[in-house]
Amino acid sequence: MIELKREELLISQLADLLVNDKHIAVGAASPIPGAAALLAKEEAKLQNNRLRVTILHSNKYNNFTDGARELFDCAAQGRIDTFFLGGVQIDGEANINLVGTGSYKKIQKRFPGSFGSALMYFVVPQIILFREEHSPRTLVDKVDFISAPGFSDENIYRPGGPKFLLTNRALFRFNKQKKRFCLLKIHNNESLENIIKLTGFKFDVDDKITNMSIPDKTRIDMLRNKISYMVAEFYPEFADRIWGV
């Protein structure tokens, strides 16, 4: 069997978090979350469950007809269960920064911008933070700019928020009460000591910490023989790089 790629392992970790969903939406620049959502959908189909997936940058896997605002209206109505957000920086209180580093008025390195994060983070019940690079420059003590805050005061309307953070080394769960991440799983080649060293914020460690689960053959086959072609429709560069399709 061809060796499992890092991206495939991450797709599989994300798909495990989507099994209870009815509608997953995937935004910009998200080939790994997009593949995970489609994988969860195809696996749900085998169990006779219907899972809707809306991929914003796809014409085919897109349930919207009312223009680009429909994602936000739909999310605000509570019709989306899971959405993915990333960040140039993510801090220990789950604040995310998609704008840049340095002070805002004198920005050092400018990134694209906040996209829809400042609403989606508030209204979608399960936000999964996904950032491949796990280093002290991405996982920081305090973000330089808050595109969307990790938590809000009691009187702010906020049915949604951060639930998990996945990097290429680890999976964390966010504890809303403690405003703190808890380490659940680590990559097979990682040690807890190294994760601590590479994480710029303090976090808890779960009693039952495990390695990331390796997908079984059925899932890998599904990913390589079916999902890869679906992903090629909206992320051709990624599908070509990972699967050569």
Binding site: P112, F115, F122
Partner: protein
């Protein structure tokens, strides 16, 4: 036969004045790249870009060419091909003003203008630095006691009216109705713009209103001030449902534009060959 006078591309370009607040469609809505090329050649200055809600190569090229003084957007990016290099450098050097926003706020500000109300409320956003730096936004306590949390703070966004909007569409009909399909954000942009010009692949000798299915996909001519047929008008961007993006070209741009010199070399070739 068309029941309207088609404009030339240069007539549309002449409708854009220095300092205009111009509507910029996202990469999935029909980016008018041939128009953008002519606009750059003309040397327009001090444009204020209003992106719904983001821009890719179009915004990056206009910024790199010195046509832009301000941009309001939720993101500027080359998507799979990375950061928008001319945008990033212009923000880092302070050459342009960026009004950082978030997608639903950009929609809501135009929706206020659609309804001709002075502002639109939006949930979320409160407590972000986006809100902190937007002095034109206000937070009030929800005055409607029938809904919402107790003493719920809510964000108000001002109505924004655009001076001009240009987008590229698959086709127009003989009466000047424009097929926009599911890209309804183009209708939002058009409703909120003083002037709207469209470049299109073709003008069909039909009336889109004759059929219930096509009527639902069109932007009525009453919002349109001028149409010009421009083949491949979105290249190298995609025209959804008609042709895909030329990824090789966008990649080539993303590499060239990493430096201002590389950008200028690329543009010399792009504009004049």
């Amino acid at each position: 036969m068309n029941k309207f006078d088609e404009l030339s591309l240069s007539e549309i370009v002449d409708e854009v004045k220095d300092g205009d607040l111009i509507g910029i469609p996202a990469d999935y809505s029909g980016v008018p790249m041939k128009f953008t090329k002519e606009l750059i050649k003309k040397g327009v200055k001090d444009l204020k870009l209003y992106c719904l809600p983001l821009t890719t190569i179009q915004g990056d090229m206009l910024i790199g060419s010195g046509c832009v003084s301000e941009i309001e957007a939720a993101a500027v990016t080359l998507g799979e091909f990375g950061l928008a290099p001319r945008f990033s450098e212009a923000v880092e050097s302070g050459e342009i003003v960026i009004k950082d926003s978030t997608c639903p706020a950009l929609h809501a500000q135009l929706q206020a203008t659609e309804k001709s109300v002075p502002f639109m409320p939006l949930r979320g956003v409160i407590g972000s630095d986006i809100q902190k730096y937007r002095k034109d936004w206000q937070v009030i306590e929800n005055p409607m006691k029938s809904s919402g949390n107790k003493n719920e703070p809510i964000l108000l966004l001002p109505a924004v009216k655009l001076d001009v909007l240009i987008f590229h569409a698959p086709c127009a009909d003989k009466n000047g109705n424009i097929q926009i399909g599911r890209r309804r954000e183009l209708a939002t942009l058009a409703h909120a713009s003083k002037n709207v010009f469209v470049t299109t692949e073709e003008i069909l000798d039909i009336d889109l209103f004759d059929d219930e299915l096509s009527a639902a996909t069109c932007l009525p001519a009453l919002y349109i001030d001028g149409i010009s047929v421009v083949k491949n008008g979105a290249w190298p961007c995609a025209l959804p449902g008609v042709y895909g993006a030329d990824n090789n070209e966008i990649k080539k741009y993303s590499i060239a534009a990493k430096t201002q010199e590389g950008f200028e070399d690329y543009m010399k070739n792009y504009l004049f060959n």
